[in-house]
Symmetry: C2
Subunit: 675 residues, 2 copies
């Protein structure tokens, strides 16, 4: 098929040189890109380890993603399973330790395409909620994939609101068993990963009933498929919930349980136990368990969400200096599309967002570790703040990352619609994160509830945790910027974000209060204010993120060149959010129309400056071509050649076209006599 | 598999009654829903015809969409071909005339799932650009599907900027032929529909060269595949470009041409002809051809884009009164999610947008017909206005409809991620429209260029076309609203939109001028202002759309109940845009912060009022269950039952699980001894 080899005009395009349009962008970088890579990796040693992990994984054909876009969903699922099992062996062979430095890079390098993800949740839950005997029995089996478990919580009719779950576990004292039941169709377990086609066991979250009394949700270990032949056990109806927007490698499933009997020992009992005589015993605090869910959220922001936006940015920015379109200057060659201000206005704010979110992750993790340390010594006082912070951040980061990936995808024009660009998969992958691990609107409102509570505490004279202390501080009445360069002063825009968040939170809280005073029930007042509470919650998160970005850049002890670029990104990031949320800054004349015009001016200046550094600023993230898996985004910029080579691999180009045989052939044959 | 038939708890859930939670929403509608349906259809007779077409199509198993979400892309493609051929026969059998009343409903009823779409463009082009002899030769063949053609314009490296296309057609006088060539990889035809696996012919857009001189783009008829066996002809490399985000039913293709010789007669020559001696003759105006591209855009807005948003709204709103979540009132049953203000704030503005865009379509079509009439009598003066209007409207409507579909999808939580909800397919379908038929940013800037030109004309005293006459009108300095009810006066918010559009257009135009005065070239000044020009262009389109909505509702001679609801939708629509673009209304203190608070208050009041009518307001659009093809959105609201029934049909639930056989079985068997 390599017909262009013999076609003289193509002689020059089959090399693997860097596309000159991309090479020229890297010619005189304003800083040492490798040093920025080290900063982004969290140190030079991390970069080394990461590349070692990459070398091991990318050289292994089992992990090749070459055919990713051409597999059916069943093939994708099977590949995921194969990879998980292979990976386990590989890790043992390579001697990577469970808490070793290599492990933290695995997710990044594998780009999420492995199976048994919920099985890991199943395993962690046993470790955390099981007694020592339960751990000793189940954990080795699960670790060795001798059984595969799922975490069966979500039901067809019930998601985020856990107390609404309807599956029941009724204690039968006569046999010392629990009877697990799905009382109606909306109670069917629905969505759990690894359930549809893999799991042998399920950790079923169910309402515990003893002698007719409901004791709330508890976790029960239920075998669902035979270990002999994998068929569903009697009373079990289980299957795959069918096609989804993405996540073809995961077999999300449904599970219906009819009078399934499990022994007393199968309720995970570290924190609450049912005794043989039917007494219910609670011990210790479950808060620590709840706390580990926060870690899932923090890790997810870093590993899944921000990484995805980063990859989309790398692809779109590299493509935008290779793609040329339209006469820019009359008579000259077609311009690189990144030279258009509108393209800069799409992509460079996303690039700034990548850096902002990237630096947010260690901030969240550090704070998590601090609270973890406190909790270990029995001090739970920071837990509400940590919860509120991570809930809102999860919502905001997933929302903006999803929107950002789509901006990048669309900025690649028609080719961004091709799966071969890599962008549609990144989009359907990151999108899901807006819903799983807590639906975003619900999370924003949880943060709002905490903020309103803190405000009331502050107003009554109590001292407030650090991240919300500003709620009761005195507000400046006007932005102090006098000319556009003032908006390059971090204190100027930080004050603006603080002022706005504070105003919105106070406003929403006052409204709730006023409605209650006017006779509404608390819940009605809250609901009638929730659109404004949501906006207030977002404003708070935005303030924190801008602040963390500013603080991180200020503290960085790096090359002057790197420092200048990062400051520009930080400014652009903050000013982009001021522009796109202008209404709430102008509202009470904190910022004037004149000042907003200055913001726009300096924003456009920054676009032009960052345009020149855009390619090296994405290069620094150092995702490999294998990880990007994009015909548009590879390091060498040979976009058109790669699109063509990859397209030829599509199964459609190698199959008999049965639509021709069945439907078109007779029609075409009758044309023969007429032409 | 119907195990729930025998399971006593399910006895009650297998009926096909309307879900009571949905039935209660329809109990006392504030107006006669059928009458609103007639208005939306454009008259009672239209509703009748539509339902007749629906009955014919939905009763035909070839058009069943039951398996839509379970087909591979090849199967989807084949189904599309089969349907197109079947449809042609069916139309003949039913005696539907080409311009008959049934045809205009076909697209809606078939929901876009048919093949040979670009073949129709190929056919239309021959009709418009061919000579009478060319039409006589090719059109009957194409009409009968004896040949299938594609319109091969877009190239791998060239999209919206047509002058940049690189394919060449060189006249060889010695043989009286054209030589068609793809000079390099970026010139390969890429994306044309029906090309990848179907087309026998291509209308190739190429640069015409005669004796070394370039005469620009012209259309050439090239046979690409054998009519005997469908194999590519010598010199032709053709194939499918591979998987995309959506449009699996279309075989978008690539085409490489090496020294393909076609006779002189195969250049479509109605408007320009190459004579045997190499002379080039131009005749008549091609503007009329350009004009027909505008019709494609206008029809696309109505048939593809707005319909898709409407369906998404129907699904999400119906689901939101069936889905219950969380204790709303403490101790009470879980609440319908549409009772949450945040859910109303997501969905009801989308519903209002559906109505706004729905009423925009006849406005655009009427204006198109008016201009068509003028052009027929040789008067081209309105063409620039029509072009600018439709370009901007295409960009805005596709952008907002895409965003709206995604809001609806996400508002359905986890189930919105399932293909069975219908929402992911609607999303990937509407999304593409942001790019095809003109990339949105390019289109917005074309409109901006027209606006800036008109402003200059107006300022020099010339009279302006109707839709832009406001550009030179005197502006009121302040919004006149004194209390929140004033924002229910259409003149109040129309003035706000007019003021804002005018200010932004004038501001951007002044900046371009100032930059030119300061020494920048025109093209640089334009590029340096393009972010602001884009915003100005959108503000203009928004003003027109709000105005059309207001005018339409005012002119409607309908029941008082319908009138009240439509006015509410119109208010909500306008106020939603004021809220979400608040910065540009507050900027020069046209609207004060206080007034914006009134907007929010009345906006929230409207949400509550429209909440009660939401279901009947979507019902009125009367899309059938077959058209929605959504487990969440059916008329009866039996959401959970349908999700479960459909999921069971997934091929994954009927295939041997080879991942188990190959990878898991040995691991599980070794657990047997341990459990």
């Amino acid at each position: 098929m390599a017909w262009w080899n013999t076609h003289r005009d193509f002689k020059n395009s089959i090399n693997t040189d860097i596309n000159p349009d991309l090479a020229s962008e890297r010619k005189s970088p304003p800083f040492d890109v490798e040093k920025l890579t080290n900063i982004l990796d969290g140190g030079i040693e991390n970069t080394r380890v990461r590349r070692r992990v990459e070398a091991s994984i990318h050289s292994d054909p089992v992990f090749s993603r070459e055919d990713q876009y051409f597999l059916s969903s069943s093939e994708t699922y099977e590949k995921g399973i194969q990879r998980s099992i292979h990976l386990k062996k590989k890790i043992e062979q390579l001697g990577w330790m469970k808490d070793g430095p290599e492990m933290k890079w695995l997710n990044r390098v594998l780009a999420g395409d492995i199976g048994f993800n919920v099985h890991t949740v199943f395993l962690n839950c046993i470790n955390e909620l099981g007694t020592d005997e339960q751990i000793a029995k189940w954990v080795p089996l699960a670790q060795n994939y001798n059984i595969i478990g799922t975490y069966a919580q979500t039901e067809l009719g019930h998601g985020t609101y856990l107390r609404g779950l309807e599956t029941t576990a009724t204690f039968d004292m006569s046999t010392q068993e629990f009877l697990i039941n799905t009382p109606k169709i909306s109670a069917m377990k629905w969505w759990p990963g690894d359930l549809g086609r893999s799991a042998t066991h399920a950790l079923v979250l169910a309402q515990l009933y003893i002698k007719g009394k409901n004791y709330g949700m508890h976790p029960f270990l239920v075998q669902i498929r035979s270990l002999h032949d994998h068929s569903p056990l009697p009373g079990i109806t289980v299957g795959d919930i069918g096609p989804k927007m993405g996540f073809a490698h995961v077999d999300n499933g449904y599970l219906f349980l009819r009078n399934i009997r499990i022994p007393l020992q199968n309720m995970l009992s570290r924190y609450s136990q049912v005794l043989p005589d039917g007494r219910y015993v609670k011990r210790g605090s479950e808060k620590i368990n709840y706390f580990s869910m926060i870690l899932v959220r923090v890790n997810m922001i870093g590993e899944v969400v921000v990484g995805t936006l980063t990859k989309a940015c790398m692809i779109a920015i590299r493509y935008s200096v290779v793609r040329r379109q339209s006469e820019f200057k009359p008579g000259a060659a077609e311009a690189k599309i990144l030279d258009y201000q509108t393209q800069q206005g799409k992509l460079l704010p996303q690039l700034a967002t990548v850096y902002a979110f990237h630096f947010l992750c260690p901030y969240l993790l550090d704070y998590y570790n601090l609270v973890h340390h406190e909790i270990k010594s029995g001090n739970f006082k920071s837990l509400p703040e940590l919860h509120a912070l991570t809930a809102g951040m999860k919502a905001l980061v997933t929302e903006y990352s999803t929107a950002g990936v789509e901006v990048c995808r669309r900025a690649c024009g028609g080719h961004g619609y091709s799966m071969l660009s890599g962008l549609p998969s990144l989009y359907s992958y990151v999108l899901a994160a807006c819903t799983y691990e807590g639906e975003n609107t619900v999370l924003y409102l949880q943060t709002a509830r905490y903020l309103v509570k803190c405000l009331a505490m502050g107003q009554s004279g109590q001292s407030l945790p650090q991240s919300v202390a500003y709620l009761t501080s005195a507000l400046s009445r006007r932005c102090q910027a006098r000319d556009k360069s003032d908006f390059l002063k971090t204190e100027i825009y930080l004050d603006a974000f603080e002022h706005r968040a504070c105003r919105l939170i106070r406003g929403a809280a006052s409204k709730v209060q006023a409605l209650v005073h006017s006779g509404l029930e608390q819940y009605e007042a809250w609901n009638s204010t929730s659109v404004e509470l949501l906006e207030a919650s977002m404003a708070h998160c935005q303030y924190i993120i801008v602040k963390v970005f500013v603080d991180t850049v200020e503290k960085l002890n790096s090359d002057p060149g790197i420092h200048i670029s990062l400051k520009r990104l930080c400014h652009l990031f903050a000013l982009h959010w001021i522009r796109t949320n202008a209404g709430s800054f102008l509202h009470n004349e904190y910022i004037s129309g004149n000042q907003l015009d200055m913001v726009t001016e300096i924003y456009l200046d920054l676009l032009l400056l960052l345009r020149k550094e855009a390619v090296v600023l994405v290069d620094a993230f150092d995702y490999t071509d294998e990880q990007l898996n994009s015909a548009l985004g590879s390091y060498d910029g040979q976009v058109y050649q790669r699109l063509f080579e990859w397209a030829q691999k599509a199964p459609e180009n190698h199959q008999v076209n049965s639509a021709y045989e069945k439907h078109m052939k007779p029609l075409f044959h009758s044309a023969l006599s007429k032409l």
